[in-house]
Symmetry: C2
Subunit: 159 residues, 2 copies
């Protein structure tokens, strides 16, 4: 009998967190963008507390993970929960674990008084989009994310 | 001679912050979505510290504002700076204040060791997009934001 439980990641889990991050990046065809290291994760997650990590465990083994933090909506006037990463190991899919993780996160959001939960999805990822739609989520099609990074950010800061 | 300075918002500024939020919402044709109040801003900005507010001041008068918080990139392995709101009063536009605010935020991001700065823009807002592009920012066209809010969020949490 399979049992799904959740646990909050601790500092000793940085290697495991990084392995999930790399697995998700490979799925998204973005492996070359991963420059995160265990050391960086230790600093930003467990010293600066920039984000939180939740593991979904089947009979005690970590089979999925979610990394999230709080954003803020000026229109709503309160924080929201932003889901940066959601991933279930391929061999454990089709069991409803992705939905279970999202439901757990929704419960955390409501417990903390957040007005909404948000995440992004790649436009080619139709299976995920169908799944999100089935949960009542809606795409914010009218908005585009803009980014300044790396040297361009440094230059903007210095000019 | 006009002088632009910056100051960090304090708790006594909640009324002013709300007036900027409402002015931006009106510009975005989204006034009906603003449910924020001074009390909510006091709680989430100055008790829970969910976000920070920077005012741009011309000769001491607040003429623009930016509300921002930190997000987190798993690929980069560190926090980023996320700009939720940027607004300059219409009568003070065309003086480079928007760019000055973005440069100040970029400097804050770099000072704090952030790998990138991000924000969203409505797709019909061509003047803003041209402006962002001129600063070296790029649109993350392949990503769509998904959202669960209000009753749908409550239901997902309870099911």
């Amino acid at each position: 009998m399979e049992e799904l439980t959740f646990r909050t990641a601790e500092e000793r889990d940085c290697g495991l967190i990084l392995s999930f991050i790399k697995a998700l990046a490979a799925y998204e065809k973005m492996s070359d963008e991963v420059v995160a290291t265990e050391e960086l994760l230790r600093k930003w997650l467990f010293e600066k507390h920039s984000a939180e990590v939740l593991f979904a465990c089947e009979n005690g083994k970590e089979v999925g993970f979610a990394l999230f933090f709080h954003n803020f909506s000026t229109f709503v006037g309160r924080a929201g929960l932003y889901l940066e990463d959601l991933y279930v190991l391929p061999e454990y899919r089709g069991k409803g674990y992705g939905k279970a993780i999202l439901k757990r996160l929704a419960a955390i959001a409501v417990e903390r008084g957040c007005g909404r939960m948000e995440w992004v999805c790649l436009d080619w990822n139709k299976p995920s989009m169908d799944f999100y739609r089935s949960l009542g989520a809606r795409p914010m099609d009218e908005w585009t994310i803009w980014r300044v990074a790396g040297e361009t950010l440094d230059q903007l800061a210095k000019e």
